[in-house]
Structures are given as C-alpha cells and as structure tokens.
Symmetry: C2
Subunit: 339 residues, 2 copies
Amino acid sequence: MPDTNPRILLARRPRGAPVPDDFRLEEAPLPEPAEGEVLVRHRFLSLDPYQRGRMDDAKSYAKPVPIGGVMECQAVGQVAASRHAEFREGDWVLGGFGWQGFSARPGKALIRLDPAEAPPSTALGVLGMPGLTAWVGLRDIGEPKEGETVVVSAASGAVGQVAGQLARIAGARAVGIAGGAAKCDFILRELAFDAAVDHRGDLDAQLDAACPGGIDVYWENVGGAVQAAVFPRLNDFGRMVMCGMIAQYNTAPGAAAAGAPPGPNLGPVVRKRLRIQGFIVGDTGWRRYREFRAEMLGHIGAGRLRWKEDVVRGLAGAPAAFIGLLEGRNFGKLVVALD
Amino acid sequence: MPDTNPRILLARRPRGAPVPDDFRLEEAPLPEPAEGEVLVRHRFLSLDPYQRGRMDDAKSYAKPVPIGGVMECQAVGQVAASRHAEFREGDWVLGGFGWQGFSARPGKALIRLDPAEAPPSTALGVLGMPGLTAWVGLRDIGEPKEGETVVVSAASGAVGQVAGQLARIAGARAVGIAGGAAKCDFILRELAFDAAVDHRGDLDAQLDAACPGGIDVYWENVGGAVQAAVFPRLNDFGRMVMCGMIAQYNTAPGAAAAGAPPGPNLGPVVRKRLRIQGFIVGDTGWRRYREFRAEMLGHIGAGRLRWKEDVVRGLAGAPAAFIGLLEGRNFGKLVVALD
C-alpha cells in the first residue's frame, strides 16, 4: 500500500479544447476511512465526454468541478481497507471515485461487482453508464423496429457500439458512422453492423449508399457536419435520439449560447412528424439498472453483444487520453487502468 | 338553385408567396349526384395554412392539387338534393368539398352536423380540424401541467386560440404571441390568456416579462424569428409541439431543402432533455374525434372556451383572403361564407 494518493485536479477552466495545463497532478495524503466507510483502491477510471461539461462553470444538469477539485468520474476498484460490515478487503466495487488512486467512501455509496459475472471494467462500459445510456435511449426514444434503418454516430465509441448492436438485436439495420478505416472495419467485422460510413470521406454519398430506404432512427453523439448530413435523410416518423453533440463540447461556454453554429431548419419536423428528443441517463436510467443488466448479460451470454475497450495505463496519462477522446482519437470505451 | 357551379382552380404553381393570378375563378356546370350521392350547397369554406402546401408539386404527406384542379378545403354545407336514403334536403354536412359553390358526394363521405349543438361553421374551427389539431398536439406532445408556462404562436389563429385555452384549462399559464395590439388585446381579454406578446415589438424583452420562469411548452405555428426567440428560453424537459412553420410556407419548394434558413443549434436539446416533435392531425386525430368533440362541447357549455371567426363573404374573395392568411392578416379562424 502506497502512503500517498495521486490525483488529478482541475487547475483552471479550459478555453475551448482542454490542454494539459488545465489539469494538475498532485500527491495527496492517503484518505482515512471513517466508521461505516471503506478505502477503495481504484483499478479502472472511466473517461467520458460528459466530463468536459463539468470543467465549465456553466448551468447544466450537474454541478461543475470546482477549480482545484478532483476531476469527476466513475471508477471500479477493490476494497483496500474496510470499516463497513458488508465489505471485505479485495471486494470489487463501482462508484463515483474521481481521477485519483484511492478514495474513502461510505459503504452505501458503493455498488458491489461480481467479477465472475463479467470483467470488472465492463461496469464502466457495456454494463455501465455508457451501455445503460444506449439501452435507455433506444427504449424511450429510438424504439427501433424490425427492418428499420438506425444510424449511429461515434459508432465505435462506448455508447455507439452498444446502441448499434442493440438496434440490430431489435431487428433493425445498423449503420455506424466512425472516423477512419480501422474503426469502420471494426464496426462491420467485429460488431456486425450492416454498413459503415467514414465521416472523413464523402458523407452524402456514403449515406446514400448505406441507407437506400432513408433513416428511421438517428443516434446523435456528435452534432455538426454529421447531423447536417443525416437530418434531410430522416424518414417520416423518424426519431433523433439526442445523446450528445461532442463536436461542440469545446465551444467556450459563453459562446455556446450566442455563437453556436446553427442547426437544421425545423420545417421538415412537421411534415415528416419527426421526434427530436434529448435525455440524460441519470434521470431514470439507474432505477432500471437491474433490468438492463439482466438483459445485457443475456445478450453477452448468447454471443450477440461484443465490446471494445481502449485502455490507457497510468493516472498520469488521463489528461492526454481525455483530450484525445474529445477529438475522437480513442478507439472503443476509454478507461485508465491503474496499477 | 343556380344552374352553374362557381369554383376556384389552381391556375399555376406559385413561386414563393401566392398571387391572385395563381388562381382562376370559373363557372362549371352544376354537378349531378349519382345514386347514393347528395348534392351539397356549400355555406362555409375553410381556409387553412396547410392548403399552401397543396399548391406545390413537392413530396409531402398529401398529394398536390393538380394544375387546373379545384383548390382543396373542408367545407360545411346543406344538402340541396339527395339520392341517399339517410340525407334530406336542408341537412347540414361537413366534407372535403373544395373552393366551390356545390359538390356531389357519396353519402358515406359526409359527416352530419347538428346545428342545435353548435353553429355549423364551428365544424371548420373550434370543433373541427383546427380545434382537433390543438387538442391532439397538446395531448400527445405538449402535455401541459398545472403551473407550467405554455407559449402559443399565432395565438389568435384557428389552432392557436384553442391551444392556449386548452392549456389554461389544464392549469397552465398561457402566453400568446400575435401580431399587433388588437390581436394581443383579444387574446388577453376575450380568451383570458395570462399574457400576450406582440411579435412586431421586442420579442426578447416581452418574452422575458411574460415568462419569468422560462417556457415549458412551445406551440409552434410560425417558425422564423419567433422560434429563435423562444428556443433558448425553454426549460429542462420542455416540449416543442411542431404544428406548422407558416413563416416559411412561401419558400419556393426547390429552395426549401437547399436554402431554408437554419434553425436553432440542437446542443441544448441534450442538456435540457427537450422534445421537439411534429405531427399531422390526420394521422390519428379523426379516430379520436368523438372524444374530442364531447370534451370541447363540455368546455363550451361551461363557458370555458371561446372562439373567433374571421368571415369573408363570397367565393371570389377566397384567393385574397388566403394570401392574407399566409401573411397573418386574418384575425381568427378564416372562413368564406357563401350565399
């Protein structure tokens, strides 16, 4: 057991895209668990696009990280010392532990993981928040039906890979949009999507070829040029599942209201009876976690659902990996493995 | 009984805003009802914004009126001659009769009206398609709740006046947007909306004053500058009921796809969990007509629901009235009364 706790703080609020100097690595004293708490040694940290929003001091659905505060994330770890009757050393747990090596948390704030059921890191991806996001968004908004065409942006990412596969399981055609040949190849061959579109190429021509019958459901992770290309191809009664618009997360918060690039003219929404709906998984998702997990484990057991993790080793690499995530440089669900 | 049938044809497809020469008035022979048909003498024609779409040869949810065809509309009339056992001379009926003085229609295509229940022209407005549109859109998409703020554009129009009053009946605050002092005065005093906003004035300042707690539901009839002003004021979980965007109905159909003005950046849709949904009353509305009518008659009987018609006299005035409707010059539900 080390005697200090390495942690990454928000050094200052980014202007536009975060840069390394927006973060600061420091060694803090190892936290002491109080009665009823456990000391958790973190094994895998989850890096997710929503964390960019926490770096801004803007009104949102969650509070910003304060300057000098530990960067927020979910993480998976093992109990290193327990002052809670239900947890023992070595137990695997999930919680909101932050970008750091250790944390002391009340036992009731932890979710216990069974490593025999699935590798613990999946609690941050396919069986965690990103997978739950895909499941909730398709269930509540996308509602893919047999034979429909579902287009998923950021399709090799943590949420997109699950959304596309669940759409296929529902009997729909899954078309994935990703950046570059390797990702497109992956979603076609490994995830068995029906078609792949490389957003670095001619989007219009590729979408025409991949979606000859138009688009019934669009899973929105990115915004920008991809949204502009997909929107006019939506069929009557099409649904846009608004999960994220990463292409503009680095817009300065002041500029977001005044200077954000315009979106599609909404005229066709009436004529085509489109539904464009945003959601945040935290609103209702965790209440349905058991149902989600049981269904997902069934798909995994039957060989219907695969996943890919992009594993970065060592806490010090987290800022660069996170900056890369916002630029689409990750390939699969991004996690930081700690030793 | 005259021996000819005056009717207004689509002379040519408009380029942008319709002009009088896009229409042609002609005298046709009086139609002869076949066995099972009735001859209807039209009393009130309904002029509605959707008819602008029928003038274009563009893909839509309904077929365009052919060049040289009679302009489409619903109308209320009286049976002038019957070859159908269930209809007698003088009966009031509703149907898709077109911009003309008479039509011969199968009895099964007619809806019988009881003039003792409500004035027959209301079957084109508060108790007809526009009222049903308001009722369906609020029920399925807007879902106003007690204490919420509902903003209705084109609030003195056929749909808007009903939408705002139904929102109030549901316990919400109704804020109407209309053009000019007379319409704003009307929606405040006659329809008892909670606030009125004149879109010819400073929209931002007026919306701030009228909606201090933000906007929960926006009833979209117009698009353009009004939509741009309302969108950033939507609250978390806000709904946009996309009923129409009359501000761009006169965009040339070729230009509609390529040159339509941009809409709002959709980024806030995610963070605020907004729902933007279009609908067409014909999809499910008429199946629910009985329930709608019973509810509306209850409100009318209890003095909770009022309406205003803008009555133009004589078929020859229909084109100018319709052109004015697209410019917001009507005041209330626009009908043409025939003698």
